[in-house]
Amino acid sequence: MIPDEKNCVAVTGIGIVTPSVLSFDMITKDKLNVSEIKKIIDDIPLPQGQNSRELRRLSKLVRIAASAADQALNMSGKSTEKMGVGVALTHGSTSYLVDFHELLYSYGADNASPSAFSNGVTNAPLSTVSTMFKLTSGGVTYTGLESSGLDILSAGAQSLLFNEYDSFLVGSAEEYSPFVEQIYAEYGWYNGRIPSYLPGGNCRTEGYPLSEGGAFMVFEPLTEETSGRAVALYQPVSDDELMQCMPDLVISGASGGPQDKYEKRLLKKILRKNNTDCVFTSAVFGNCFALSGLLSGVLACACIKSKSVLLPRKRPNPEIAGMIKEKDSVSSVLVTSASRDGQVSCGMFYPPATAHFDSAQ
């Protein structure tokens, strides 16, 4: 597939906030070669020009989202006029739902604080980002499992390809929640043991530690001007188009959870055809649910910018290991994400210089 203005958008801004990486510029090979997955972000960078007192009243989830969105918007420099916004979440506001239940027990249904309730409603990150950065053109929150992160990337790009907005801010945020971790442990989906290989062999009991973070991208229509300042090009990939992709590198969302049996099936299909390189986002950032797809996208952009595989090569599942061909240089990246319900989502990232324009013919 040739990246052109009919199937691709330009990625002109990127923001990332995780326990180990606090900006796109911080992403280096050394930084990604982590020995331990941290669960919590110690110090969330403040969005520029925002009142820190006001920010303290917001939930941590919302502050993470705002911080990553702020970085992406600043890098892009694009006006937020006619900019759409899309956010994907899996567990999102869980901690505030827990808090509101606590308030109900402590103070009764007639006296509990309203802010915990409103911060716990699922679209809180989108509404705060829209209010903070004056995004009024419209948006949507997808609440789904692991693949919803790549679903929202695809939705944002499609809306630009159909001229519904001038630009699109798309992202995800997840907050580490001991409550979610406890439930996952009770279900046997998580026991803190890092899988010996990816996609996990025993999906019921092994999985990367749950972690938190936020990642946003600004998409603009692909033109000669935007390709000149873009970090990468992004192309949503449908099921029908998947086998036409010929990436140098696959960045997979496998994390050892119950979704890995679908991820393994997907990777086998891709690698059997392409004989390409393959690495895993969870080996750097842990299991971040919907956010994982966005993190894979950010890592794809970083690999394209550096023209190399920045992620550590953790031991792949023996069933796919023989199909992987390690590569030194990278000029196209396929990101994949499967959910535990079998849904799959994919997208391609290309260097801006590979953009093809009809006008150049």
Binding site: A109, V121, T122, L126, T131, L135, D341
Partner: protein
């Protein structure tokens, strides 16, 4: 190339009962399903005036259906929709589900158990995640298309239908089932009570004495398809979706902008997307929650778009019949609007005996009105300033 998008099936369940016929009868007679119920053992905010789905449709007590009450309601409306569309093989179909808090009561019972120190059953929380409703339906009915869960607060149902419309219009799929659902739970009632948004009476949308909303529950789903798909299946359309628009107010998390700027913006986008002018709209199915702030914002938003012509456009809010069903509200408005355009009946805005004099151009009636409608505008407004507008056309 943009595909035309038709609706070929619809299903609905609310405090009025289950099925399009029951709802049409209620629209014709001006019946309300709002009653008093207790959710907090009689302590405040009980008694709660709300739109609870009748026990003939779903178990009387919320606890009995705790893990998946919203999923039960969703399945009820979903099955009606696929049956009326004659669409049985769902393997190629998208499922787009809108919800705000979904099966929240399972989570509440789980926390109750934890608080009492007893062993909490994790099955109570497995369906709390908003996407669990769509995932349950997708698994049970072998849906192999994309399934997406949308959370745009109280605009979720409209946004889900709009998302399905966009995917078909763009050619990403040719058929989808989309709608919204939310179930009553003490959690959601307490939340709105904390915000001091509940009325102790049956709600009075657009009235001078409106004093808050009545929480409700329900679900509505529609089958959407492209012309080609519909023709291949020899399905009969019941309405056409002409346009969809969303906007964000970027104003406040729980209050809408008093000038209705987001509402006006979403309407303009939907009209533009539909290729119609404000002069062509025959009827507005409003969000009309009966809170002081919402109805003011809506009126100002409508006036900004329609000007003095607003007085000629019949407006209705059906929240005094069904209660405010949150994530289901927009989808319920869509199905009621399909009944409107196919039966030439504008629903009553029950209990709005004395419209707010600030709303000088509002055209509401406490009685149902016979009126031919070609184009109806449906508006839904959610927390966080999310607004969704749809334009439906009669065929």
């Amino acid at each position: 190339m943009k595909n035309d998008v038709y609706i070929t099936g619809a299903g609905i369940v609310s405090a009025l009962g289950s099925g399009c016929k029951i709802h049409l009868d209620a629209l014709k007679s001006g019946r309300s399903g709002i009653e008093q119920h207790n959710f907090f053992s009689g302590e405040l905010p009980d008694p709660c005036v709300c739109g609870k789905v009748p026990h003939t449709v779903i178990a009387e007590t919320i606890d009995e259906t705790a893990p998946d009450r919203a999923a039960i309601l969703a399945e009820n409306a979903f099955c009606q929709a696929i049956k009326s569309a004659g669409h049985e093989n769902l393997s190629d179909t998208d499922l787009i589900t809108g919800t705000t808090l979904g099966n929240m009561h399972g989570g509440t019972l789980y926390f109750n158990a934890l608080k009492k120190g007893s062993r909490a059953d994790t099955d109570l929380v497995k369906n709390v995640m908003p996407d669990s409703i769509g995932n349950t339906l997708a698994k049970k009915y072998h849906i192999k298309g994309k399934h997406i869960s949308v959370s745009s607060a109280c605009a979720s149902g409209s946004t889900a239908i709009g998302t399905a419309y966009n995917r078909i219009m763009r050619g990403q799929n040719s058929i989808a089932i989309a709608g919204g659902v939310d179930a009553l739970s003490p959690f959601i009632i307490a939340g709105f009570n904390c915000l001091r948004l509940l009325s102790k009476n049956v709600c009075r949308p657009f009235s001078l004495v409106r004093d808050g909303l009545n929480p409700g529950e329900g679900a509505a789903f529609v089958v959407l398809e492209s012309y080609e798909k519909m023709a291949r299946r020899k399905a009969e359309p019941i309405a056409k979706i002409k346009g969809f628009g969303t906007a964000l107010e970027a104003f406040h998390y729980t209050r809408s902008h008093p000038d209705g700027i987001g509402i006006a913006s979403a309407i303009r986008k939907a009209l533009d997307n539909a290729g119609v002018t404000p002069e062509q709209i025959d009827h507005i199915h409003a969000h009309g929650t009966a809170t002081v702030q919402n109805d003011l914002s809506e009126y100002n938003g409508y006036y900004a778009v329609f000007g003095d012509r607003l007085s000629e456009i019949p407006v209705c809010s059906t929240k005094s019949m069904t209660g405010h069903t949150y994530g289901a509200a927009g989808a319920i408005s869509v199905v009621l609007s399909i009944l409107t355009i196919n039966n030439s009946i504008i629903p009553a805005t029950l209990f709005c005996n004395d419209p707010d004099p600030l709303f000088t151009k509002i055209n509401v009636s406490i009685h149902p009105r016979n009126h031919d409608v070609k184009l109806v505008l449906i508006v839904a407004v959610g927390f966080g300033g999310e607004v969704a507008a749809l334009v439906l056309e009669a065929l």
